[in-house]
């Protein structure tokens, strides 16, 4: 393998990992607070992508690429984040809250049910074909020597990094963040300390779902918008979150990038047949669960949000 091919694979792996990391952040945040895996996360991402697509296309009209498309894209993202936050809070209120006292399996099954309801409703309402989400900016690839990278890839990597930092600051430094950490440690005690646990949980879902919407829109630029878009990427992101130590924000970022690199280099260097690419992620999941179930960064309890 030439040096150019190596760096190209590295670049591909990093950006694929960036996508996983972006979604894993939402997964890990909800898990960190509630010890509950929100399997509907991927489908909230899909709903956010559809809203973003419709708003963006509506605002843009026939306008050529330029400042207006960027503004329209930004507005579409804000509206989609708002929509997804409300959707996430509603789902929590309807499908998870009544099960909060039940055994751990009940909310998990409920989440899987919500996931199916969302993706089937989208397939029914919007059809099963893929829709193109046009780039709001010029996505002409940039050549660095023989290695090629697109502005979109740079955007994905930087957005996931920025979101990780903001999320970490929010959880570590703000009052709400403190309340979240308290809720995470012990809901009963947190309530006794005067924390409105219901509000904290709602807030957690709102933020997690808004993150999903951002991820959904950024992914849609490359992968298109379709009813089951959240399923496979959602599962991979879940693996990434587990690898990084579920509940750990920087761990999710790391897990996502690692997974992207493993998938790319597993095929490119270790000669795993490309048809088995998906197997890598789930193979890694099993390995991690066997060897280090708390994940690579899951050891230090106080790191958890």
């Amino acid at each position: 393998m030439g040096i150019a091919e190596f760096f190209q694979h590295l670049m591909n792996g990093l950006t694929l990992g960036g996508i996983y990391a972006l979604i894993a952040l939402g997964y890990t945040m909800v898990y960190g607070i509630l010890k509950f895996i929100n399997f509907a996360h991927g489908d909230i991402l899909m709903a956010g992508a559809y809203v973003g697509l419709f708003v963006f296309d509506g605002l843009r009209g026939d306008a050529p690429l330029g400042t207006w498309t960027l503004i329209a894209f930004f507005l579409a993202m804000l509206i989609s984040m708002g929509f997804s936050a409300v959707l996430g809070m509603t789902i929590e209120r309807v499908a998870y809250k009544p099960l909060r006292g039940a055994n751990r399996l009940a909310p998990l099954l409920s989440a899987i049910g919500v996931s199916f309801i969302l993706s089937n409703s989208a397939a029914w309402a919007f059809g099963t074909h893929s829709r193109k989400f046009n780039y709001p900016f010029d996505n002409t690839p940039v050549h660095i020597g023989e290695v090629v990278i697109t502005p979109h890839q740079i955007l994905i990597l930087s957005v996931s990094l920025i979101m990780m930092i903001i999320l970490k600051l929010f959880v570590d430094k703000t009052r709400m963040g403190k309340a979240m950490r308290a809720t995470s440690l012990d809901q009963g005690t947190a309530m006794l300390m005067g924390i409105n646990v219901n509000r904290v949980i709602s807030m957690t879902f709102a933020i997690g779902s808004a993150l999903a919407a951002v991820g959904g829109i950024l992914i849609a630029l490359d992968f298109k918008v379709y009813a089951t878009m959240g399923t496979m990427t959602g599962l991979k992101a879940f693996v990434a979150a587990v690898v990084g130590g579920i509940g750990n924000i920087s761990g999710a970022m790391f897990g996502g990038i690692l997974l992207g690199l493993l998938e790319t280099f597993g095929v490119a260097i270790f000669g795993i047949p490309t048809g088995l690419k998906d197997t890598i992620a789930f193979g890694v999941l099993i390995l991690i669960l066997l060897i280090k179930p708390e994940g690579l960064f899951g050891k230090v309890e106080k790191e958890k949000v």
Binding site: Q8, N12, T264, V267, A268, T274
Partner: protein, 390 residues
């Protein structure tokens, strides 16, 4: 009880009547068989094809039958789309009914099993719809009036080699029957012609990220990349190839003839060359057939039924020829007469059989200009040689 007895009596009478008719002088009435799923999940295919054969037989007998005097008798068997049922049905058709030829089976799976039986019994079989490339490899008694899946790959491989002049190409295909079948068919033809598939990468259905595969292919530096997939994947592949700065021509398959590709990847389709359906001329024979079929059965024919109608007529014509020449219905002679079919004017178009029993059919070649496919002509492969039809 009484009622069912009565029904039984009517049925027996109905079933027996052709026997009486036969006993009454036309002792030499030959039988042909039809087999297809007439109940179960695939019943729609079997019933419609059976209708076609019934219609062809009635029309043939109305014109006087073989040599103008001997009518043909049709025996239809239900395979339920099931291999075991198909095998017992062919057992009955060949030994009890002593058929001299058959139309069907309709489904590929049953055709493989029944084909082995007719081959060893020496009964000619014409399937209207078994498309798997290997069906006609069973033997020289197996024919079909439908395009083999193998043809597209064969036309593709030969066209890429001799018309486009490529000597090494890469392939990116999906792990499903369609994509993998085309990949294998194209590769076999391309390499038989003298070219080489230097790199073949695959992916799972539903994948969206192909950058790893494309980067590997780029390093192998093929002259062109063949992507026999469906639109959703092809759109991703074309776009991501551009993102990787790849400037290699893309070649594709009939999946590309779906216009959705231009919605999804309209900026990247320019220059793609693909193998698609041949242009079909609407013939008056076809519209007559559809009208007669609809009048008789209340529903229209599907493509299986259209092919079954042509198949039945080819079989009857071959039997007629043998009868006029020899006064008998020899199975081997009928096979030879079917094989010798030359430019038969069928309702689905002109029919000729290749050496192996495949329908000689055509594939269209298209080159995309911006987002408009431009027709390059129709091609077929006769005995391994690419032939331009128009």
């Amino acid at each position: 009880m009484k009622k069912s007895m009565f029904v039984c009596f009517i049925l027996v009478a109905l079933l027996a009547s052709p026997l009486f008719a036969q006993g009454g002088g036309e002792s030499a009435s030959p039988k042909i068989g039809f087999m297809g799923p007439m109940t179960g999940d695939y019943a729609n295919y079997g019933v419609r094809s059976n209708n076609s054969v019934i219609m062809a037989v009635e029309q043939f007998n109305a014109k006087g039958g073989f040599g103008g005097k001997v009518p043909v008798v049709l025996v239809s068997e239900d395979s339920e789309g099931n291999v075991e049922k198909g095998l017992s049905a062919i057992e009955k058709l060949s030994s009890a009914d002593q058929i001299v030829g058959m139309i069907g089976p309709v489904l590929t799976g049953t055709s493989f099993a029944v084909g082995e039986r007719v081959q060893s019994e020496g009964i000619v079989m014409i399937s209207p719809s078994a498309t798997h490339a290997d069906i006609t490899s069973i033997g020289d008694y197996v024919f079909r009036t439908v395009v083999s899946d193998g043809l597209q790959g064969e036309v593709a491989g030969n066209y890429f080699y001799s018309e486009l002049g490529y000597r090494n190409i890469g392939v990116l295909y999906a792990k499903n029957d369609y994509s993998q079948g085309l990949y294998e068919g194209m590769t076999a033809a391309f390499e038989a012609a003298g070219g080489k598939v230097t790199i073949a990468e695959s992916f799972q259905v539903g994948d969206k990220d192909f950058k790893t595969q494309l980067t590997k292919i780029r390093s192998a530096n093929p002259e062109a990349i063949y992507i026999p997939n469906y639109t959703a994947e092809m759109a991703q592949i074309l776009e991501q190839a551009t993102q990787l700065g790849m400037d290699i021509p893309f070649l594709s398959c009939d999946g590309f003839s779906n216009p959705e590709i231009y919605d999804l990847a309209g900026d990247f389709t320019d220059g793609v060359i693909y193998v698609g359906p041949a242009k079909v001329k609407e013939s008056p024979a076809y519209s007559d057939f559809v009208a007669q079929y609809e009048a008789k059965f209340g529903v229209g024919p599907d493509s299986f039924a259209t092919n079954a109608y042509d198949g039945a007529n080819i079989l009857l014509q071959a039997m007629d020829k043998v009868y006029r020449e020899t006064g008998k219905f020899n199975r081997a002679a009928i096979r030879d007469a079917v094989a010798a079919t030359k430019d038969y004017p069928g309702v689905a178009g002109t029919i000729n059989f290749a050496e192996n029993g495949d329908l000689i059919a055509y594939q269209g070649l298209y080159k995309v200009n911006g987002t408009t496919p431009e027709y390059l002509g129709s091609y077929t492969v006769v005995d391994g040689v690419l032939t331009k039809v128009d």
